[in-house]
Point group: D2
C-alpha cells in the first residue's frame, strides 16, 4: 500500500480552497478525483462538529458506492477493496453537505492509501460554477418526504441538477450554495445571508478561528480557475421573503422587508432593490470571470420572481453591453415531486437539468 | 342493420346542445357515447365548412381507432366492422376541434347504423366542466412541432389534460374552450374574446344564421346538467396580452391594454381590472352552478399571472364566503415538451393532469 | 390544384410492387413519401373488400395526423388543408394492415392533388427489409386490450418496432409480414403459410385474379431494391404450433406437427426440421440479397424457440462461411404490456426496437 | 441516550437466526426494523473478515440514508442525528451482501443507542421468503457496469426485486440467496452449491467454527416464522452450467454436466435430473411450509430453462395435487439494462417486480 497526499499531481481537487495539505472541504461537492489501478483504496479523513455532522459520498466509475456520515476525529475509511488489480477506475470523493454555522465543524482529507498507481482523471471539457441556495445545495434530495427539519442528512448530491449538468458536459464544476440565502436578501429578509457578499472569498460564509486557519476567508484564486459558465440559481429566497416578517439590522436599526402588492406581484421598491442587487452581482461576476457565460437560472420552486429577474438581466445586458449574460426559467416543481424538507426531489432536478443542458448547449462552451 | 337516432335513451350526449336530432356538435369533445354488442357500426354525419374543416375521433373501449377529417356534405363513416358479435363495447365519437369563426362550418350527427343493440355507457361517477383557452382546446396535441399556423389539424384530444382528468374520475365532461381567449381580455387585448361573456349560452362564441338555427345561441340548460366541478383554465392569454399592442373598441373608441411595469410584473390598473374580471366570473359560475367546486387551474404555459389569479381567488373567497372556490398552479411547460403550434405537448398535459387529479381527489366529488 | 401521379420522380414508393400507376399497396407499411410546399393535399384512392377493410395512416413531418378506414370505391381523401403555403413538409401515406385472404380486397393510389410543388423526401441513409409475422405486421398495436378477434382494426403502425428502427436509421424500409405464419410451419402446423415460400414474389401470399393483374404474384425486382439489412422476425408461430393439433396435407395426406418433449423443449425431429428450414431461408435470403446483413431477430412474445434458432444461425454461419448472418434475442413481452389481440403492445415494441437498434448500430450499415 | 438490545420486543428481527443477542446477520436483507421518536440513533456493530468485507444500508422512513462498508472490529455507527425529537420514524438496518466463503467473516448487531423510545414497526401484512441466486442476492445492483469481479461491493438492495415486492405487499421478508447456485447443480455443474440442500438450516451455506457458534448451522425455526408465499428464483445457474466444463465429485469420482442437444435445447437426461430436483425441492418446501403459496419465478437473465421448469412445476402439481404451486416467467433482461458484474440492473429488477406483484396479487395472500 502506498500513501498519497492530496497534492499529488494526478489528483484533481474539486471545489474552492487555497490550502491543499491537508485538504479542507468547504462547499457542497468539494472533494477530489483521480483514477487508480489499485485493488484497494482507503481515505484518511479528519472531521469534527458540534451540531452538524459531515457526510460524504464515494463514487467509482460514476456510481455512488458509499454515502455515509464521517466519524469524528481522524479516521481511515475504506473506499473499496477486492477489486481486480490493473483496471483503471475513476474515483471521486465528494462532500454531500453545505458549509454550516457550526464553528467546530470541518472536514479534512489527509491523503489516501492504495495498492496501485494514481492517474489523472479523464480530461474535463470545461468548467462550470454554480452559485445558488438550497436547490443547488441539494436540500431535499436525501431522505423521505417525511423528513423535515432534519439537519445535515437531507443534503444530497444524488440527482442534483448541478451534478447532472456537469456530468453531461464532462465539466470540472463547483457549487457555492447556502440554504435560505438570496441575491438581495435571505428568506428572512436580512441583507447578510446573501451569496454576492461572499463570492470573492474561498468560503466566506463560514465563521470562526479554525475556518480562518483553513483558509476559508482568503480571497479565491480566480486566476487559477476561470469558469466557462457561471450558473446563478438565486432569487427563490428573495421571493419567499415576502411571506416572512421584516428584518432589522441589529447595528443600524435599519429595517427591511420584501413586500407584495395586495393585488399580487412585487411592490415597486422591493422590485427595484432586488433588480439592483441582481445587476450588481452580474457586474461582480463579470469582473471576476471576464470570459464566462453568465446564466441566471431560476424557477425550480416556483416562478414568483421570474418577471423581475428577467427584467434585471435584460437591463443589465442593455446597460453593460454584455452579451454573454442570459436568463433561463427552470421548470417549477409540483406537489408530486416533493423530496425531503418540502424541497424539490429528483424528478424536478432531472427535468431542470435537461432544460438547463439544452440551453447551455447553445453556448458551445 | 338497425338505424338509431342520437335521441335513443341509451346514448349519452356529450357537450352542450339543446337540439338533439340531428345532433349538432359545437365544442371540443362534444359527441356521443354508448355501448353496443354489434359487429359493425356506421355513423351518419353531415358537415360543411368554408375555411376550417371538422375533425373527429372514434374510440372503442377507450382506444382511439380513427381520427380523420369529416368529409363535406352528408357521409356515412364506418366506425368498425368485423368485430365479434355479442361483446359489449364502449363507443365514443368526439369532435376534435373547437368552434371556429367560419359561419358555413357545422357538424351534425344524424344517427348510426349497427347490427347489434345499444346499451347505456358505463355509469359516470361525476360531471366536470372545463372552461379554458387553447390549452383546454388541445392546441398542440396534434401535429409535429414543425406544424405552425396550421388551422384545424393541430387540435387534438389525444393526451388532453381534460380528457385524462375526466377519465380518471370516470366523469361525464365538457370542454368550453377557445384558443386565444381570456378571462378579462384576449391575447390581443380585446374585451370581446373572453369566455365569461358567453358562458350562459350553448355556444355563443359562434356567429351566423345557421348556428342560430342549430341552437348555438340559446341559453344553456343549467338545470339539466350540473357539474360537480368546474375547472377554469383561463388567464394565460390575459398574460400574453402584455406583449401585444393595445386594442381599440371600434364602436366606442375605448382603448385598452394589459401593461407591465418596467421592472417586471403587472402594472396596478391592469392587475385590478384582471382581478375584477376573475371575481366576476367566479360569481357567475357560482350562480349558475350552485353546488359545484370551482377550481381555477392555471399555469401550463408559464406563471406570469399566478400572483394576480391567486389574489383574485383568495379575495373572492373572503368577500363571498364561498369555500368551494380554489386555485391551483399547474406545472409550466418547458422547451423540451413543445408540441405543434408552439403549444405544450403531451408530456405537459400528462403532468398537468396528474397534478390536477391530485388536487381534485381532495374534494371527494 | 395540380394533379400528380404516383410515378412522379419526386415520390418515393414504399413497399414491394412492380406496377406504379395506379399504385397497388400490398404489404403493411406500403405507401408513398414525398415533400410538398402546398397548403392543401388530397389523395385519390380506390379500394374494395369483402370481409377485411383497408386502413391507412397519413403522416405529416412524422406525426400521424389521420388513421382511418378507406371507403369502398374511388375516393378523394383530404390529407390536410389550411397549412401555410411555402413550407416544405414530409408527407407519408402508409397502409396499416397486412395482405389478407379476401380476394376482392385491394387498395390503389391513383394520385394526389396539391396546390404546391413536390420535392423528393429527405435522403434515406439505408434500406431495411423486415420479414415477419403478426409482430412485424403490428397486430396488437391498435385497439384496447379488450379487442380480440377484431379483424383489420387491430393492425397498426403506431409504435411498430420496424417503423421505430427504420426511423432511427433514416431507412427506406419494407415489411413483409403475415399474422400466424412461420419459418418452417405456421401456428397451425401447416407447411403452406410460411414466409420463405413467397419471398421471391411481390406479394405471393395473396390469391385471386385481380391480385394477379395488380402484379402481386410477379417476381420481386431484387436488383431494383437491395436491402442493407434484412431483419427476419420469424419462429414465434413455429413455436406456438406445439400447442396446436397436427396438420394434414389435403393433397398428399402427409401429416405433421411440431412436438415437444414431455419434460420440456422441442423433440429432436421437430427441432431438426425447423433448423433446416431456417438455414434454407438464410441461404435464399443470401442468394437474393448478396451484400445485406441478415439478422434473425426473435423473441418478442416468448423465447421457446431461441435455442433452436440460435443453433440454426450458428450452424448456417459455420457451414456457409457467411459472416454477415446474426442472431438477436429480442426482449419477451410480459402481461403488463399486452395490447389488443393478446399481442405485445407499444412498450414491448419500443423496447424491442431499442435492443434491435443497439445491435444494428454495430453493423455500420 | 438509552441503550437497547436487539432483543427488545419493539424490534423486528429480519432474516433467519436463532441467536439474537448479539444478533448475527447471515443472509442478504437480514437486519432489524423498528420505529423511534428519538433525534439521534447509533448502532453498535461488530464485524470481521479476511477477504470479503461486510456492507450495510440504513434506511429511515424507507429512504436509504447510508450505505457503507462496516469497519472491522467493534464500531459505533451513527444512523442519524439532529432529527426533530418526537416524530416517529421507521428505521431499518439491512445487510447488503450475501453469506460468503470467508470463515473469518461475520456481522453482529450488539444493540443501539437512542435518545428516544422504541416502537414496533408498522404492522406487516404478510410474510414472503425468497430463495434464489445472484439475482435475489442483488448482484449487479451496486456499481457501474464497468465493475466486474469486484467482490462484495457489487451486491445491493437498492431496487432489488425482492425488496420492491415485499414493500408493495408490506411484507416481512427474507432472502436466502447465493450467487452461482442452482436447484439441481451450480453454474459449475457441481451438486454441492445448490439451495435445496441447505434450506432447513439457518444459514448452512456457511462454514467454520465461528459460524457454528453463531448458530448458522442450526435448524431453522419453521414454526416461528411461516411464510405466506415462497418465491423460488432458481434455475438460471442450472442453465448456465451447459456452457461450463463437467464437475467431478472429489470423493466419489462421479462426474456430471448439464448437456444441451447439438440442435438446441437440453439433452434428455439433463432435463430429467433437473426436473427431479425441482420437484424434490417443491416437496421439501411444501413439507416445511404447509400453507404457503409456492411460486417458482424464473427468467430475469434469459429463458433457457423455462420449458423444463414449467414442465417440472406442472408435473409436481399433477402428482402431488398441490394447487398452491405455480410457475411464473419473469421478463428477461436485455443488453441495455446491464448493471455491474454483467448482471441485470435496476430496470430489469423493477420490471420483474411489477410482473411478480401482478401475479402475487391473484393469490390474495
Amino acid at each position: 500500500m502506498v500513501h498519497y497526499l492530496p497534492t499529488e499531481p494526478e489528483i484533481l481537487i474539486l471545489g474552492r480552497t487555497r490550502k491543499k495539505n491537508p485538504l479542507p472541504l468547504f462547499w457542497t461537492a468539494s472533494g477530489l478525483e483521480f483514477r487508480t489501478d489499485g485493488s484497494e483504496l482507503w481515505f484518511e479523513l479528519e472531521s469534527d462538529y458540534e451540531s452538524m455532522e459531515e457526510w460524504i459520498r464515494i463514487e467509482v466509475d460514476g456510481f455512488c458506492l458509499q454515502r455515509l456520515i464521517v466519524p469524528k476525529g481522524r479516521s481511515r475509511l475504506c473506499a473499496f477493496r477486492g477489486f481486480p488489480k490493473g483496471t483503471r477506475r475513476t474515483v471521486r470523493l465528494l462532500k454531500e453537505v453545505q458549509p454550516m454555522l457550526d464553528e467546530r465543524r470541518y472536514l479534512l482529507v489527509h491523503g489516501l492509501e492504495c495498492d496501485g498507481k494514481l492517474y489523472p482523471p479523464l480530461p474535463k471539457k470545461c468548467r462550470i460554477e454554480f452559485v445558488g441556495d438550497s436547490l443547488s445545495a441539494g436540500v431535499g434530495l436525501a431522505g423521505a418526504p417525511s423528513l423535515v427539519d432534519a439537519g445535515a442528512a437531507v443534503y444530497g448530491l444524488d440527482g442534483n441538477y448541478a451534478l447532472l449538468t456537469a456530468e453531461y458536459f464532462q465539466a470540472d464544476f463547483r457549487i457555492l450554495a447556502k440554504c435560505g440565502w438570496g441575491a438581495y436578501c435571505s428568506c428572512d429578509n436580512d441583507l447578510v445571508h446573501i451569496m454576492p457578499k461572499y463570492y470573492e472569498q474561498v468560503c466566506g460564509v463560514l465563521t470562526g478561528e479554525h475556518n480562518r486557519e483553513l483558509g476559508a476567508f482568503e480571497e479565491n484564486d480566480f486566476s487559477g480557475w476561470q469558469p466557462d459558465l457561471v450558473v446563478i440559481n438565486l432569487g427563490s429566497n428573495d421571493g419567499f421573503a415576502v411571506d416572512r416578517p421584516a428584518w432589522t439590522d441589529p447595528e443600524t436599526g435599519f429595517s427591511q422587508r420584501m413586500v407584495s402588492c395586495p393585488y399580487g406581484g412585487l411592490e415597486e421598491q422591493s422590485a427595484l432593490r432586488f433588480e439592483a442587487a441582481v445587476k450588481d452581482f452580474l457586474k461582480k461576476l463579470r469582473r471576476l470571470n471576464p470570459n464566462a457565460c453568465l446564466l441566471w437560472a431560476y424557477g425550480m420552486c416556483e416562478h414568483r420572481m421570474s418577471p423581475y429577474l428577467e427584467a434585471a438581466v435584460r437591463d443589465y445586458r442593455k446597460e453593460s453591453g454584455d452579451e454573454k449574460a442570459d436568463f433561463l426559467l427552470l421548470p417549477a416543481t409540483n406537489p408530486l415531486w416533493v423530496g425531503s424538507e418540502n424541497h424539490p426531489g429528483k424528478k424536478e432536478h432531472e427535468l431542470a437539468a435537461k432544460v438547463l443542458i439544452e440551453r447551455v448547449k447553445e453556448y458551445e462552451i
